[in-house]
Symmetry: C2
Subunit: 458 residues, 2 copies
């Protein structure tokens, strides 16, 4: 059986202050096993929040058919934020060529793809100037159907579409939302535009392998069947690994819990390769929002190799021992050879690079950074995947969802809710004048007033 | 005198566990003043590392002239990493329109601009396919002239240029490096191509207001005189503020030191607005590499409002009290109004957004998040700038350089070196077969072997 990923954890056990030892994980073994049984049981029941575990087995017919429809437009604009955007960004970054939107049509096999994510007037006006509405489709994604930023973008794009396309406007919208509830579903019913469902048991940050991530991916030529195949394969292998030291998700879950207990309150994710930079962003939401509650949770720190060797590595090497670091490497990278020889005296100094490949350099950097961190006594895991393609990305995504859920359950937090964001939402509603939220105006003014109490103008 | 920035710190004083109180800063007052005197003195001496403090007063003639030359090409590719790229990315992100490279020439007033930063074969091959070498200029930036990733990209671009342009190849290269030392300077002398100097007393991460950041900025139509004017203005105002509570850099320096001592080992930078996302990246290098040494230094956490309300805010609100958070807001944002009324029953639910502007929403979100964090007892600073334009970005950049240096000196670390990255470099050289580094092969194999000692393949 060929490999989907490999995880080297020998450097994660440290002996200095606040050590984490092999036997510490062994002592967690039973709890991890029980937690895994619980997770699997909840998954089989399709319990609220646990639905992502069944996504690899979903029927893709409707999504593929919708993707085919989307692919006939020149431009796809996905309107969504958080879990309704990060997974898409991650897939596009990993599986489409760099500079994708800038490529001419023969090289670019699908429509251009943009995300309207932030409630930013600069981005919105720039987007508006670019769109030929008659050739554009908007994919509006919000599970609740009430995400403020998403609705704001939806309102202006819908208004423009009506002005420009008249009764054809609904033909330029795909809505991805809850199957029954929410205002967007109401809109779909009233206007008869296309829609897809987000399964009820799947939360936003675990939704990339649902319609949320897959519909536009399919339209852009990403092989979503292979994505799910990779996820299925790793799921099935994980099920078979019933001994702690054979199961990388179990070992990593244990390590994360132990390093958090030992006071390492950051989890650094540092993939090597531009095409995985958005993977670290996607992971940051998954990890931060799933685990950050009840005063617990380690903070995800997004990094990118080799770039952050020239930015964050100094701190990781010589700063406080407060991080648990994961380096992600890729075994097979595209072949790109540096010149064999440059007949130039001034460049003789660099002859050690002559004839080497760029991919070799990048992986050497990943291994060197891992080694240097281990020498410095910092705990580090080295994870590698065979290559960046649908199958392995599908596997990696599922692996990290599994790991995150497992860590949350081990920490006794609910990895599928996010109660902490409600306070800010109430304040936003009150300041924007939404009916029913007037009572919060005084409160937000009180706290913001406290902040402004000491204001220094320069 | 109109405002350059304002800093509200009332929410930075907390009363729970590990409090930081107003009187704690007062007790640091004398040390801060003395440190400031030291910093100014070193700046006047143009001491090693301190040169950035004089950059606002530099003569721009040569840089502007070079920028004019660069602007005649269709495409500028800057080859650099870390401090030789992040500042450029930040300026372009803040001061050029979104989707800049995709704009057609009447809308895009300068050349296309790309950064070749990472040693990534995917990016390199995609770049190679895109370039019309006869209309492209490469700007190679490395102070030492020996940065591995930069040299790797330089080697292949130089080789291609020679093959395609023959003796004209040097006319397509600008080298920005040390005035005397290093192989790139040797190359400049041998080939007679254009070059600019990086002042000897200016380190990479403090170099954005030198030739490193300004040459390409000028070529792209960014008003670099206004940038420096903003930096000069804020410098001159800071000099005049000799009382602690009038000087926002002093107060923030004190707060950072105190929150670090109180165990808050992360410094979150969360600007609101897409055009400031790279500012947080730039800050992360400045902060992390300047302060992360001797077992000290808080970890910079890059965030983006409002997007991270849907990703990291849950953790900031309900996770551990281990962060000191800065929210950056912008007072004047472009006018972009949402529809006044949408005559659609299904959308009635969203009427609180009708007729509002997107910029209003974004700033309401910044204030709401600030208030919610204060209610949750998390320390937060609210910083605002009047608008995103050259003058205020120049001021903000200088302000954060000043603050970072001050915090480093207060912590008794050297904010201008990065000794911790040398270990990794030696390992890279040894694995890439560079002469003189053979002795490290065994060492890197030993540490990487330790890591691989427990390898789990899935």
């Amino acid at each position: 059986m060929d490999e989907l990923l490999s995880v080297s954890v020998g450097g994660a056990f440290t002996s200095g202050n606040h050590p984490v030892k092999v036997e510490d994980i062994d002592s967690l073994s039973q709890k991890i096993e029980e937690t895994d049984v619980f997770l699997r049981k909840k998954g089989r029941d399709d319990a609220e929040g646990f639905g992502w575990i069944n996504l690899p087995y979903q029927n893709l017919t409707e999504i593929i058919e919708t993707g085919r429809w989307l692919s006939k437009f020149d431009t796809i604009v996905q309107i969504g934020i958080g879990g309704s955007a990060l997974g898409n960004r991650m897939l596009v970054n990993a599986l489409l060529p760099p500079f994708y939107n800038e490529l001419e049509t023969p090289l670019r096999k699908g429509p251009r793809f943009y995300l309207l994510e932030n409630s930013d007037p600069v981005t919105a006006t720039a987007m508006l100037d670019r769109l030929d509405l008659s050739k554009t489709v908007f994919v509006v994604v919000s599970k609740s159907g009430s995400t403020t930023e998403t609705i704001a973008h939806f309102l202006w794009t819908w208004q423009r579409a009506k002005e420009n396309l008249g009764t054809k406007a609904p033909e330029h919208f795909l809505v991805i939302t809850d199957s029954r509830r929410g205002s967007l579903r109401k809109f779909v019913r009233a206007r008869g535009c296309r829609s897809l469902e987000i399964p009820e048991s799947v939360g936003g940050r675990y939704s990339v392998l649902s319609s949320v991530g897959l519909a536009t991916a399919a339209a852009l030529g990403i092989d979503i069947e292979r994505l799910l195949q990779g996820a299925r394969e790793i799921d099935q292998r994980l099920v078979m690994r019933n001994y702690l030291w054979e199961n990388p998700a179990w070992v990593l879950a244990g390590l994360n819990v132990l390093h958090a207990r030992a006071g390492r309150n950051m989890s650094v994710m540092m993939p090597y390769g531009d095409c995985l930079s958005a993977f670290a962003e996607w992971f940051a939401q998954l990890w931060g929002e799933s685990l950050g509650k009840n005063g617990l949770g380690t903070t995800p720190v997004r990094a990118l190799g080799a770039i952050d060797q020239h930015s964050q590595l100094q701190l990781y090497m010589e700063g406080p021992d407060d991080k648990f670091i994961t380096i992600i490497d890729v075994k097979n990278r595209p072949y790109f050879k540096l010149p064999d020889n440059i007949d130039d005296d001034a460049l003789k100094y660099f002859e050690f690079l002559f004839g080497k490949t760029m991919g070799e350099l990048l992986s050497v950097e990943a291994r060197s950074t891992t080694s240097a961190l281990i020498k410095a006594g910092k705990p580090v895991v080295y994870l590698s995947i065979p290559e960046v393609s649908e199958r392995y990305i599908g596997a990696l995504v599922f692996f990290y969802e599994y790991l995150t859920a497992l860590v949350g359950l081990l920490m006794d937090v609910n990895p599928f809710d996010q109660p902490g964001v409600e306070q800010g939402k109430r304040y936003i509603y009150s300041l924007m004048g939404r009916q029913g939220f007037e009572e919060y105006i005084g409160e937000v003014e009180q706290y913001f007033g406290k902040c402004r109490n000491i204001e220094i103008i320069l």
